[in-house]
Amino acid sequence: MAAIEIRNLVKSFGPVKAVDGVSFSVEAGSVTGYLGPNGAGKTTTLRCLLGLVTPDSGEALVNGERYVALSNPVAEIGAVLEATSFHPGRTARNHLRILCTAAGLPDARADEALEQVGLADAAGKRVSGFSLGMRQRLALASALLGQPRVYILDEPANGLDPAGIEWLRGFLRHLAHDQGAAVLVSSHVLAEVERTVDNVVIIAKGRLVRQGSLAELTSDGADAVRVRAAQAADLAPALEAAGGVVEHVEDGLLRVRGLDPEAVGQVALDRRVVLTEVAQERSGLHKVFLDLTEGR
């Protein structure tokens, strides 16, 4: 049984189809990135999963059950949604204690969770004085209260400084890889999650575009070299002879895989071909992400 299972989820707001038949699952012990541009339907999917929004059709299950059917949801799944969901006049500790009371957890969990996210010193401060990064940490602390095995984080890196993002990255990987939790983290900024996630689910305009492991997705666009030369037609066979896979992009422009720029330059020198451009193409998840989501 998957920790998170989304099956043919559909949700419209008026005429807008926010989520249109999305299916994917998240397994324990891994971090899955839920990626897509703003407005792609990420938040709506997560809110359906958490019982905050009722889907038009399809299912969203946590540990095989609908969220509203969980007897003690806080102990099964921790969610971090917007960073603004605090009463500004309340202290961080009181905010967490209220959740503990409602969930039947001891008050001591509030301080333990604050310790875990590095907010112990600010426990008695009103949230109105918190920076965005501190609010994100507090939101994360609230997800930790019930010590669940499944975590959902909606754009958790928003408002974090680079050190905070690095900390979050380590924290999420620790939860998944050391504690065996299932972690689903959404983002519209790839750079934030690229080094955090094991698996990727990409969504655009409410539809699932691609899913797979990070390695599978990034291998597509890796190691390509753009080569521009007037005598491209002469150069191509030589590059292939040297072990490259050559693609003719347009007249005078080649895309070569399997060779690095230095090897390409060496082949050109041997063949006495003048190169007007040699460039390593932008590769990795970024390109995959842009290719898959642009123009859809």
Binding site: T43, E82, F86, H87, I98, A102
Partner: protein, 259 residues
């Protein structure tokens, strides 16, 4: 369930609004009482408030505490709307996905807070009205006057006004709109229909009129004799409003998408 009620009470008592409301309520009840003390026995347009040393004046003065209902109602509005304003409703429903339970907990917490406010204002009445009567040469007797019934009426009224506020808050969700609606309701609509005896045929069916009936205030304050329902009917009407508002709160909250 007791955990949920405790959580709701904690929500209220970990922010500052409750004691500000309590203070404002006591000040305004005190101002109203000041007028009643000043104008006791003074003749206006041929009729007059009873004199300060009479049991009738003590009853009118004591019952003026029911004007605290609006503050409890505002507190009820805020108990509901601040969840939407600050989006804490998300965390509330994540912790307790069965939303009906959250509403029940809020209603119970509201009744308790309303009762606490009622006790506070009754203590305030005791330390102001009793000296006002005795210093004027009158005799204050709990057993001879109808003060116990009036006190019970105030307790029930204030507790239920918190529930009215919760229902109103769930309906409008916008904090400012909810508070404005509560104030307009209490100070304009109810004041007109329950303040002018000629309009009591309508006013007696409103929560404010039902509250007056529950206290059975039958004293001519200079505008003519009131025509309230019998006390038991007032209680039924008031509780009926409480149930309606609680039902409204539940119906508007249970299925709504939280985005």
């Amino acid at each position: 369930m007791s955990g949920l009620v405790k959580a709701e009470l904690r929500k209220l008592f970990t922010t500052r609004l409750w004691w500000i409301m309590l203070l404002v309520m006591l000040v305004l009840v005190g101002v109203g009482l000041g007028f009643l003390i000043a104008f006791a026995g003074v003749e206006q347009n041929g009729s007059a408030l009873p004199a300060r040393d009479t049991a009738a004046w003590a009853e009118v003065a004591w019952s003026s505490a029911s004007s605290g209902g609006i503050f409890v109602m505002i507190l009820g509005v805020v108990m509901m709307t601040s969840e939407y304003r600050y989006q804490t409703i998300t965390g509330t429903f994540l912790t307790t996905p069965r939303r009906g339970l959250v509403i029940v907990a809020k209603v119970i917490a509201g009744l308790l807070v309303g009762a606490v406010f009622a006790l506070a204002v009754l203590i305030f009445q005791a330390i102001t009205v009793i000296p006002a009567v005795t210093l004027s040469g009158g005799e204050f007797s709990l057993s001879a006057s109808r003060i116990p019934q009036i006190s019970l009426g105030i307790l029930v009224t204030l507790a239920l006004y918190a529930v009215f506020g919760i229902g109103l808050g769930a309906l409008v969700r916008n904090q400012i709109a909810g508070i404005v609606a509560a104030v307009v309701w209490a100070y304009v609509i109810e004041s007109i229909f329950t303040g002018i005896p000629a309009l009591h045929s309508v006013g007696k069916w409103l929560p404010g009129g039902a509250a007056q009936a529950l206290m059975s205030i039958d004293v001519d304050t200079g505008l003519g004799r009131p025509e309230w329902l019998p006390a038991w009917a007032g209680a039924i009407v008031l509780v009926g409003y409480g149930l309606v508002f609680a039902a409204v709160a539940t119906a508007t909250t249970v299925r709504r998408d939280i985005t």
